[in-house]
Protein backbone atom coordinates (compact mmCIF):
# COMPACT_ATOMS: atom_id res chain seq x y z
CA UNK A 1 0.00 0.00 0.00
CA UNK A 2 1.29 3.44 -0.91
CA UNK A 3 2.26 5.67 1.99
CA UNK A 4 -0.04 8.60 2.82
CA UNK A 5 1.22 11.93 1.59
CA UNK A 6 1.92 15.15 3.46
CA UNK A 7 2.16 18.60 1.86
CA UNK A 8 3.34 21.81 3.53
CA UNK A 9 3.52 25.47 2.59
CA UNK A 10 4.51 28.82 4.03
CA UNK A 11 2.15 31.65 3.07
CA UNK A 12 2.45 34.98 4.93
CA UNK A 13 4.77 33.43 7.49
CA UNK A 14 8.47 33.52 8.33
CA UNK A 15 9.28 29.82 7.80
CA UNK A 16 9.71 29.56 11.57
CA UNK A 17 7.00 26.91 11.74
CA UNK A 18 8.83 24.86 9.09
CA UNK A 19 12.02 25.27 11.15
CA UNK A 20 10.13 24.00 14.18
CA UNK A 21 8.88 21.10 12.07
CA UNK A 22 12.49 20.18 11.21
CA UNK A 23 13.17 20.42 14.94
CA UNK A 24 11.57 16.98 15.35
CA UNK A 25 15.22 15.95 14.74
CA UNK A 26 15.80 12.23 14.09
CA UNK A 27 12.08 11.57 14.33
CA UNK A 28 12.03 12.81 10.74
CA UNK A 29 13.53 9.42 9.76
CA UNK A 30 10.57 7.70 11.39
CA UNK A 31 8.23 10.13 9.64
CA UNK A 32 9.76 9.34 6.26
CA UNK A 33 8.93 5.66 6.88
CA UNK A 34 5.33 6.62 7.55
CA UNK A 35 4.67 9.23 4.84
CA UNK A 36 5.82 10.63 1.52
CA UNK A 37 6.12 14.36 1.04
CA UNK A 38 4.24 15.97 -1.83
CA UNK A 39 4.25 19.73 -2.56
CA UNK A 40 6.49 21.20 0.13
CA UNK A 41 9.60 23.32 0.62
CA UNK A 42 11.03 20.25 2.42
CA UNK A 43 11.53 18.40 -0.90
CA UNK A 44 11.06 21.40 -3.20
CA UNK A 45 8.14 19.83 -5.12
CA UNK A 46 6.34 22.86 -6.56
CA UNK A 47 3.09 21.29 -7.78
CA UNK A 48 0.77 18.71 -6.28
CA UNK A 49 1.34 15.24 -7.75
CA UNK A 50 -1.84 13.79 -6.28
CA UNK A 51 -4.15 13.49 -3.32
CA UNK A 52 -2.63 14.17 0.14
CA UNK A 53 -3.77 13.04 3.55
CA UNK A 54 -2.47 16.03 5.47
CA UNK A 55 -1.66 19.61 4.48
CA UNK A 56 0.22 21.87 6.89
CA UNK A 57 -0.40 25.59 6.41
CA UNK A 58 2.04 28.11 7.83
CA UNK A 59 1.06 31.78 7.62
CA UNK A 60 -2.12 33.63 6.77
CA UNK A 61 -3.12 35.22 3.46
CA UNK A 62 -1.66 38.65 2.71
CA UNK A 63 -1.87 38.50 -1.10
CA UNK A 64 -3.81 36.84 -3.93
CA UNK A 65 -1.13 34.20 -4.47
CA UNK A 66 -1.49 33.08 -0.82
CA UNK A 67 -5.22 32.66 -1.41
CA UNK A 68 -4.65 30.58 -4.58
CA UNK A 69 -2.09 28.32 -2.88
CA UNK A 70 -4.37 27.87 0.13
CA UNK A 71 -7.34 26.98 -2.09
CA UNK A 72 -5.09 24.53 -3.97
CA UNK A 73 -4.15 22.90 -0.65
CA UNK A 74 -7.81 22.64 0.34
CA UNK A 75 -8.59 21.00 -3.00
CA UNK A 76 -5.79 18.41 -2.65
CA UNK A 77 -5.69 17.62 1.09
CA UNK A 78 -8.10 15.51 3.14
CA UNK A 79 -7.06 17.18 6.39
CA UNK A 80 -5.86 20.78 6.46
CA UNK A 81 -4.05 22.06 9.55
CA UNK A 82 -3.32 25.69 10.43
CA UNK A 83 0.14 25.68 11.96
CA UNK A 84 1.18 28.62 14.12
CA UNK A 85 -0.02 32.08 15.07
CA UNK A 86 0.08 33.61 11.56
CA UNK A 87 -2.12 30.93 10.00
CA UNK A 88 -4.50 31.02 12.97
CA UNK A 89 -4.67 34.74 13.74
CA UNK A 90 -2.70 36.55 11.04
CA UNK A 91 0.23 37.08 13.42
CA UNK A 92 2.88 39.74 12.84
CA UNK A 93 1.80 40.43 9.21
CA UNK A 94 -1.71 41.22 10.52
CA UNK A 95 -0.34 44.18 12.47
CA UNK A 96 -1.02 46.14 9.30
CA UNK A 97 -4.72 45.32 9.49
CA UNK A 98 -5.64 48.47 11.37
CA UNK A 99 -3.74 50.62 8.85
CA UNK A 100 -5.16 51.34 5.37
CA UNK A 101 -3.25 49.50 2.62
CA UNK A 102 -2.46 52.74 0.79
CA UNK A 103 -0.79 54.12 3.90
CA UNK A 104 1.29 50.92 4.28
CA UNK A 105 2.54 51.18 0.68
CA UNK A 106 3.29 54.89 0.99
CA UNK A 107 5.32 54.27 4.15
CA UNK A 108 7.17 51.30 2.59
CA UNK A 109 8.03 52.88 -0.77
CA UNK A 110 7.78 56.64 -0.46
CA UNK A 111 7.81 58.09 3.04
CA UNK A 112 9.88 55.70 5.17
CA UNK A 113 13.07 57.19 6.67
CA UNK A 114 15.44 54.81 4.83
CA UNK A 115 13.70 54.79 1.44
CA UNK A 116 15.75 55.40 -1.73
CA UNK A 117 13.25 55.55 -4.57
CA UNK A 118 14.13 58.30 -7.08
CA UNK A 119 11.28 57.42 -9.48
CA UNK A 120 8.75 57.67 -6.64
CA UNK A 121 6.90 54.62 -7.89
CA UNK A 122 5.07 51.98 -5.89
CA UNK A 123 5.77 48.53 -7.48
CA UNK A 124 2.78 47.49 -9.56
CA UNK A 125 4.02 44.75 -11.90
CA UNK A 126 1.56 42.05 -12.87
CA UNK A 127 4.20 39.47 -11.86
CA UNK A 128 3.89 40.69 -8.27
CA UNK A 129 0.91 39.19 -6.43
CA UNK A 130 -1.63 41.85 -5.48
CA UNK A 131 -1.82 42.61 -1.78
CA UNK A 132 -5.14 41.99 -0.05
CA UNK A 133 -6.89 44.78 1.84
CA UNK A 134 -5.78 43.08 5.04
CA UNK A 135 -4.17 39.85 6.23
CA UNK A 136 -6.64 36.97 6.64
CA UNK A 137 -6.23 33.96 8.93
CA UNK A 138 -6.35 30.72 6.89
CA UNK A 139 -9.69 29.61 8.34
CA UNK A 140 -11.34 32.82 7.14
CA UNK A 141 -10.45 31.81 3.55
CA UNK A 142 -10.96 28.01 3.46
CA UNK A 143 -12.25 25.35 5.85
CA UNK A 144 -9.49 24.34 8.27
CA UNK A 145 -9.79 21.06 10.15
CA UNK A 146 -7.25 21.45 12.98
CA UNK A 147 -5.23 24.21 14.60
CA UNK A 148 -1.77 23.95 16.14
CA UNK A 149 -1.16 27.21 18.01
CA UNK A 150 2.27 28.60 18.87
CA UNK A 151 4.91 30.92 17.51
CA UNK A 152 6.08 28.48 16.41
CA UNK A 153 4.25 25.40 17.68
CA UNK A 154 6.92 23.23 19.32
CA UNK A 155 8.35 20.25 17.43
CA UNK A 156 6.58 18.05 19.99
CA UNK A 157 3.24 19.68 19.18
CA UNK A 158 3.71 19.08 15.45
CA UNK A 159 4.92 15.52 16.03
CA UNK A 160 2.04 14.77 18.40
CA UNK A 161 -0.46 16.03 15.83
CA UNK A 162 1.03 14.21 12.84
CA UNK A 163 1.39 10.86 14.60
CA UNK A 164 -2.14 11.10 16.01
CA UNK A 165 -3.62 11.79 12.58
CA UNK A 166 -1.50 9.14 10.80
CA UNK A 167 -2.65 6.57 13.37
CA UNK A 168 -6.28 7.60 12.99
CA UNK A 169 -6.49 8.90 16.55
CA UNK A 170 -8.25 12.12 17.65
CA UNK A 171 -6.00 15.15 17.96
CA UNK A 172 -6.14 16.17 21.62
CA UNK A 173 -3.19 18.34 22.64
CA UNK A 174 -2.14 18.06 26.31
CA UNK A 175 -2.04 21.33 28.34
CA UNK A 176 1.71 22.06 28.02
CA UNK A 177 1.51 21.85 24.21
CA UNK A 178 -1.18 24.53 23.79
CA UNK A 179 0.85 27.75 23.70
CA UNK A 180 0.23 30.96 21.78
CA UNK A 181 3.87 32.11 21.87
Amino acid sequence: MAKPKVATTSLAGCFGCHMSFLDIDDRILKLIELVDFDKSPVDDIKKFTGRCLVGLIEGGCCNEENVRVLQDFRAHCDILISVGECAIAGGIPAMRNAIPLEECLRESYLKGPTIYNPTKTIPNDEEIPLLLDRVYPAHEVVKIDYFLPGCPPSADTIWEALTALLNGKPLDLPYPLIKYD
Binding site: E85, A89, L173, D181
Partner: protein, 239 residues
Amino acid sequence: MNHTFTFTIDGVEVRGRPGQTIMQAADEAGIYIPRLCAHKELVPHGSCRVCTVFVNGRPQSACTQPAAPGIIVENETEALLAIRRSLIDMLFVEGNHFCPFCEKSGNCELQALAYRFGITAPQHPYLFPKRDLDASHPDIFIDRNRCILCGRCVRASRDLDGKNVFQFVGRGPGKRIAVNAKAALADTDAARTDRAVSACPVGAILRKRVGYAIPIGQRMYDAAPIGSDIEAVRADPHQ
Protein backbone atom coordinates in the same frame (compact mmCIF):
# COMPACT_ATOMS: atom_id res chain seq x y z
CA MET B 1 -25.20 36.00 62.33
CA ASN B 2 -21.92 34.09 62.19
CA HIS B 3 -23.27 30.62 61.61
CA THR B 4 -22.32 28.76 58.45
CA PHE B 5 -24.61 27.03 56.01
CA THR B 6 -24.13 24.54 53.20
CA PHE B 7 -24.95 24.44 49.51
CA THR B 8 -23.68 22.35 46.60
CA ILE B 9 -21.42 23.04 43.61
CA ASP B 10 -21.61 20.30 40.99
CA GLY B 11 -23.01 18.01 43.67
CA VAL B 12 -20.18 18.66 46.14
CA GLU B 13 -21.26 20.05 49.51
CA VAL B 14 -19.67 23.44 50.20
CA ARG B 15 -19.72 25.55 53.36
CA GLY B 16 -20.67 29.21 53.10
CA ARG B 17 -20.94 32.14 55.49
CA PRO B 18 -23.45 34.98 55.37
CA GLY B 19 -22.02 37.81 53.26
CA GLN B 20 -19.89 35.53 51.11
CA THR B 21 -20.27 35.35 47.36
CA ILE B 22 -20.49 31.98 45.63
CA MET B 23 -16.97 32.54 44.31
CA GLN B 24 -15.51 33.24 47.76
CA ALA B 25 -17.12 30.12 49.22
CA ALA B 26 -15.95 28.05 46.24
CA ASP B 27 -12.37 29.35 46.59
CA GLU B 28 -12.30 28.32 50.25
CA ALA B 29 -13.59 24.90 49.33
CA GLY B 30 -10.90 24.50 46.65
CA ILE B 31 -13.32 24.65 43.74
CA TYR B 32 -12.12 26.90 40.93
CA ILE B 33 -14.70 29.00 39.14
CA PRO B 34 -12.99 30.63 36.10
CA ARG B 35 -12.91 34.44 36.25
CA LEU B 36 -11.34 37.48 34.60
CA CYS B 37 -12.66 40.75 36.02
CA ALA B 38 -12.81 39.37 39.56
CA HIS B 39 -9.81 39.94 41.82
CA LYS B 40 -9.47 38.86 45.44
CA GLU B 41 -8.65 42.35 46.74
CA LEU B 42 -11.16 44.28 44.64
CA VAL B 43 -14.89 44.79 44.89
CA PRO B 44 -16.65 42.55 42.36
CA HIS B 45 -17.57 44.08 39.01
CA GLY B 46 -19.59 41.27 37.42
CA SER B 47 -18.83 42.46 33.90
CA CYS B 48 -16.83 39.75 32.13
CA ARG B 49 -19.37 36.99 32.87
CA VAL B 50 -16.64 34.31 32.66
CA CYS B 51 -17.57 33.21 36.20
CA THR B 52 -21.17 32.57 35.15
CA VAL B 53 -22.59 29.57 37.00
CA PHE B 54 -26.11 28.18 37.10
CA VAL B 55 -27.77 28.84 40.45
CA ASN B 56 -30.91 26.75 40.81
CA GLY B 57 -30.95 26.62 37.01
CA ARG B 58 -30.48 30.35 36.39
CA PRO B 59 -27.27 31.94 35.09
CA GLN B 60 -25.58 34.23 37.65
CA SER B 61 -22.08 35.68 37.97
CA ALA B 62 -20.41 33.83 40.87
CA CYS B 63 -18.36 36.91 41.84
CA THR B 64 -21.46 38.98 42.68
CA GLN B 65 -24.10 36.42 43.60
CA PRO B 66 -24.32 35.81 47.38
CA ALA B 67 -23.95 32.24 48.60
CA ALA B 68 -27.16 31.07 50.23
CA PRO B 69 -28.28 27.99 52.14
CA GLY B 70 -29.28 25.06 49.98
CA ILE B 71 -28.68 26.60 46.56
CA ILE B 72 -27.67 24.20 43.78
CA VAL B 73 -24.74 25.59 41.79
CA GLU B 74 -23.53 24.16 38.49
CA ASN B 75 -19.96 25.10 37.54
CA GLU B 76 -18.08 22.55 35.44
CA THR B 77 -20.69 21.52 32.90
CA GLU B 78 -20.44 21.19 29.13
CA ALA B 79 -22.95 24.01 28.68
CA LEU B 80 -21.01 26.41 30.89
CA LEU B 81 -17.70 25.46 29.31
CA ALA B 82 -19.23 26.35 25.92
CA ILE B 83 -20.41 29.74 27.24
CA ARG B 84 -17.04 30.50 28.83
CA ARG B 85 -15.12 29.46 25.73
CA SER B 86 -17.31 31.74 23.66
CA LEU B 87 -16.68 34.68 26.01
CA ILE B 88 -12.90 34.15 25.85
CA ASP B 89 -13.12 33.75 22.07
CA MET B 90 -14.96 37.04 21.73
CA LEU B 91 -12.43 38.86 23.91
CA PHE B 92 -9.66 37.58 21.66
CA VAL B 93 -11.26 38.60 18.35
CA GLU B 94 -12.52 41.96 19.66
CA GLY B 95 -9.02 43.21 20.47
CA ASN B 96 -5.59 42.86 18.93
CA HIS B 97 -4.02 40.15 21.04
CA PHE B 98 -0.66 39.33 19.47
CA CYS B 99 0.56 36.81 22.04
CA PRO B 100 3.92 36.00 20.37
CA PHE B 101 5.45 39.37 21.21
CA CYS B 102 3.37 40.45 24.21
CA GLU B 103 5.43 40.83 27.37
CA LYS B 104 2.54 39.47 29.42
CA SER B 105 2.46 36.18 27.49
CA GLY B 106 2.74 33.23 29.87
CA ASN B 107 1.48 35.36 32.77
CA CYS B 108 -1.69 36.59 31.06
CA GLU B 109 -5.00 35.53 32.57
CA LEU B 110 -6.94 35.81 29.30
CA GLN B 111 -4.41 33.55 27.56
CA ALA B 112 -4.33 31.21 30.56
CA LEU B 113 -8.10 30.78 30.45
CA ALA B 114 -7.91 29.98 26.74
CA TYR B 115 -5.25 27.37 27.53
CA ARG B 116 -7.32 25.91 30.34
CA PHE B 117 -10.35 25.63 28.07
CA GLY B 118 -8.20 23.99 25.36
CA ILE B 119 -8.90 26.71 22.77
CA THR B 120 -6.62 26.32 19.74
CA ALA B 121 -8.34 28.94 17.56
CA PRO B 122 -11.32 31.27 18.01
CA GLN B 123 -14.58 30.39 16.29
CA HIS B 124 -15.49 34.02 15.55
CA PRO B 125 -13.94 36.23 12.85
CA TYR B 126 -11.24 38.67 13.95
CA LEU B 127 -12.26 42.34 14.05
CA PHE B 128 -8.74 43.90 14.01
CA PRO B 129 -9.97 47.14 15.59
CA LYS B 130 -7.93 50.32 15.48
CA ARG B 131 -6.86 51.08 19.05
CA ASP B 132 -4.27 53.43 20.46
CA LEU B 133 -1.32 53.23 22.80
CA ASP B 134 -0.28 55.72 25.48
CA ALA B 135 3.44 55.51 26.23
CA SER B 136 3.74 59.10 27.52
CA HIS B 137 4.48 58.06 31.10
CA PRO B 138 8.18 57.41 31.88
CA ASP B 139 7.55 54.14 33.77
CA ILE B 140 4.31 52.56 32.56
CA PHE B 141 2.23 52.37 29.38
CA ILE B 142 -1.30 51.55 28.27
CA ASP B 143 -1.78 49.42 25.15
CA ARG B 144 -5.50 49.55 24.43
CA ASN B 145 -5.11 46.85 21.75
CA ARG B 146 -4.93 44.38 24.62
CA CYS B 147 -7.51 45.92 26.96
CA ILE B 148 -10.49 43.69 27.77
CA LEU B 149 -12.38 46.35 29.79
CA CYS B 150 -12.39 44.31 32.99
CA GLY B 151 -12.13 47.49 35.05
CA ARG B 152 -9.58 46.06 37.47
CA CYS B 153 -7.31 49.10 37.03
CA VAL B 154 -10.25 51.41 37.68
CA ARG B 155 -11.08 49.67 40.95
CA ALA B 156 -7.47 49.15 42.06
CA SER B 157 -6.53 52.78 41.43
CA ARG B 158 -9.62 54.03 43.24
CA ASP B 159 -9.76 51.59 46.17
CA LEU B 160 -6.17 50.38 46.72
CA ASP B 161 -4.03 53.24 45.41
CA GLY B 162 -6.46 56.01 46.37
CA LYS B 163 -5.75 57.81 43.10
CA ASN B 164 -8.58 57.41 40.60
CA VAL B 165 -6.22 57.36 37.63
CA PHE B 166 -8.38 55.25 35.32
CA GLN B 167 -12.01 55.39 34.25
CA PHE B 168 -14.19 54.08 31.44
CA VAL B 169 -15.39 56.45 28.73
CA GLY B 170 -17.75 55.80 25.82
CA ARG B 171 -20.36 53.09 25.38
CA GLY B 172 -20.73 49.81 23.50
CA PRO B 173 -18.02 49.17 20.92
CA GLY B 174 -16.64 52.67 21.61
CA LYS B 175 -16.02 51.97 25.28
CA ARG B 176 -12.41 52.33 26.34
CA ILE B 177 -10.23 52.95 29.34
CA ALA B 178 -9.28 56.61 29.80
CA VAL B 179 -6.99 58.44 32.21
CA ASN B 180 -7.95 61.14 34.66
CA ALA B 181 -5.92 63.95 33.06
CA LYS B 182 -6.16 66.55 30.35
CA ALA B 183 -4.13 64.64 27.78
CA ALA B 184 -2.22 61.52 28.65
CA LEU B 185 -1.03 59.02 31.25
CA ALA B 186 2.05 61.16 31.90
CA ASP B 187 -0.21 63.91 33.26
CA THR B 188 -1.65 61.68 36.00
CA ASP B 189 -0.10 60.74 39.33
CA ALA B 190 0.10 57.08 38.27
CA ALA B 191 3.28 55.39 39.46
CA ARG B 192 5.28 52.29 38.58
CA THR B 193 4.38 50.67 41.91
CA ASP B 194 0.61 51.26 41.64
CA ARG B 195 -1.62 48.28 42.32
CA ALA B 196 -3.61 49.37 39.28
CA VAL B 197 -0.66 48.30 37.14
CA SER B 198 -0.20 44.85 38.66
CA ALA B 199 -3.97 44.27 38.73
CA CYS B 200 -4.20 44.24 34.91
CA PRO B 201 -4.88 40.61 33.92
CA VAL B 202 -3.59 41.14 30.36
CA GLY B 203 -0.78 43.16 28.80
CA ALA B 204 -2.78 46.40 28.56
CA ILE B 205 -1.03 48.20 31.45
CA LEU B 206 2.61 47.24 31.78
CA ARG B 207 5.77 48.51 33.43
CA LYS B 208 8.43 49.73 31.04
CA ARG B 209 11.94 48.22 30.97
CA VAL B 210 10.81 44.81 32.20
CA GLY B 211 10.49 43.01 28.88
CA TYR B 212 10.56 39.24 28.76
CA ALA B 213 12.13 38.88 32.20
CA ILE B 214 10.94 35.36 33.03
CA PRO B 215 12.18 32.58 30.72
CA ILE B 216 9.66 30.45 28.83
CA GLY B 217 8.90 27.40 30.90
CA GLN B 218 9.02 29.26 34.24
CA ARG B 219 6.15 31.67 33.68
CA MET B 220 3.01 31.50 35.75
CA TYR B 221 0.84 29.40 33.44
CA ASP B 222 3.49 27.45 31.49
CA ALA B 223 3.18 24.18 33.37
CA ALA B 224 -0.08 24.25 35.32
CA PRO B 225 -3.44 25.74 34.30
CA ILE B 226 -4.84 28.89 35.87
CA GLY B 227 -6.86 27.98 38.98
CA SER B 228 -4.51 25.13 39.97
CA ASP B 229 -3.59 27.02 43.16
CA ILE B 230 -7.24 27.10 44.22
CA GLU B 231 -7.81 23.48 43.27
CA ALA B 232 -4.74 22.48 45.30
CA VAL B 233 -6.66 23.46 48.45
CA ARG B 234 -9.19 20.77 47.72
CA ALA B 235 -6.56 18.18 46.83
CA ASP B 236 -4.86 18.70 50.21
CA PRO B 237 -6.51 16.30 52.72
CA HIS B 238 -5.33 18.40 55.69
CA GLN B 239 -7.51 21.34 54.72
